[in-house]
Symmetry: C2
Subunit: 264 residues, 2 copies
């Protein structure tokens, strides 16, 4: 029942190149689709597995879609298997227009990710920011694609609650924000103790990639550098790590971001 | 050059059943193998890609292995491709005997995971515990296998620094620990504010699975219940979430664990 054209279109959006050209992305599952509709994202198509259309969760979404004039296509089990989804097809997905975000949309505390490559980490950071009420995320040009299916899934629907800008020149964007009064704080391995953060500022917090940290061109712009201290007494002596760490060499970037946000 | 027997053995250990029967597991990559040897884990075999054996990192490990009488087998590129590793073979792996951990090895703060199924989350929690100097982790019988290759990789070598017990009966183990004076704290959705934790106690912190939380049989044993508060003003009104959350419904379990550990 799903048209060949739709099937082809859906499977193409799984590829970054086509996703960007088309300006669309996919969210899978009841939870993600529901969050998209509640947040009034621009849903252009719903695909629903016919055998599930009488389940209460699905019925709610079908009603909501009908009320909002959203196109619904139904598929059978065989067609569902042809969909290239991140895991087994959860019975529902939505095709959504990528929102156009500009720097002026930003408000309050800003998280900036510089070269974060892991889609799961990106998604988890978005979800955590949402939990702590942070509304603005700036992604450097070499971050993983925001609309990577794994990243979208890891946000658990929070992708629809924030303004997230995929920068084409993060140094330029950060310079503009600094000029507008923002203070640029970087999370590094050898900075000040995190507790010293001045919460009254308009703050940007920059996190680098786990393997390379913050790039030098961004690091030299920083107003402050902070570190999340581990437990120095935990490790056998590891002079190469300095005195700030336990035995682990670093924290996962999503965990570090969560700790920062819980403190501010 | 890699014997057929070794290749078969290695690929079998990738399966949980065989891994358990054999009491062995695999760690991949320079970082993981180095941590294993520094922590004096019981390494029974090193497999190294011949073309890389003159790189400095590899030479260090070969010297260390030779000094410790560890068997080394070399493989060529073609054989490397036959190895079922988590990603592209990074040129080195070690086969390691699973350590025998008992409850009496536990010391200080204990993290208990009840039904955590995602190997990446498990690995990240181990890495975070290591950073903050927590030495003891108790896994319920329905957690993901500790030696799952993805979990091992996500620990970034920290798996070798902690005592981690895969319980066969977590209710029984927690009962024993409570009798020995431990206080049982659970992380739940509607508990007290986290700041109230009594850090002077001998504390166990229990985290449940993301989808089902802490199981009822464990929850009824808890002495205290805590919640990590989000930002109540962040969301549009969502009465179903109560007043404790931003718009996100929950935190990722590894992020929640990191926030807890940063506070205690």
């Amino acid at each position: 029942m799903l048209s060949q054209k739709s099937l082809k279109h859906l499977n193409k959006i799984e590829q970054k190149k086509f996703r960007q050209a088309q300006g669309e992305f996919i969210v899978e599952g009841v939870k993600g689709v529901k969050e998209a509709m509640l947040a009034q994202a621009n849903v252009v198509l719903l695909v629903i597995e016919k055998t599930k259309d009488s389940e209460p969760d699905f019925l709610d979404l079908i009603n909501l879609a009908t009320k909002n004039d959203i196109l619904i296509e139904y598929c059978n089990e065989k067609e569902a298997k042809k969909l290239k989804t991140t895991e087994t097809f959860p019975g529902i997905l939505a095709v959504i227009k990528q929102p156009k975000v500009i720097l002026n949309d930003f408000d309050g505390t800003i998280i900036c990710l510089d070269g974060v490559k892991d889609p799961g980490n990106l998604g988890t950071i978005i979800r955590t920011a949402d939990w702590f009420g942070v509304k603005s995320i700036l992604l450097s040009e070499d971050c993983v694609d925001l609309y990577n299916p794994k990243a979208v899934r890891s946000t658990m629907g929070s992708i629809f609650h924030l303004n997230i800008l995929e920068s084409t020149n993060v140094v330029q964007d950060l310079t503009k924000l600094q000029k507008n009064g923002y203070v640029l704080n970087g999370m590094v391995m050898n900075g000040d103790k995190l507790d010293k953060v001045n919460k009254k500022n308009m703050n940007i917090y920059v996190f680098g990639s786990e393997s390379h940290g913050i790039r030098p061109e961004v690091e030299k712009m920083l107003d402050n550098k902070y570190t999340i201290l581990g437990c120095p007494s935990a490790g056998y002596p590891r002079p190469e790590l300095g005195s700030k760490a336990g035995q682990a060499e670093s924290l996962n970037v999503a965990v570090a971001c969560g700790i920062l946000l819980s403190k501010i």
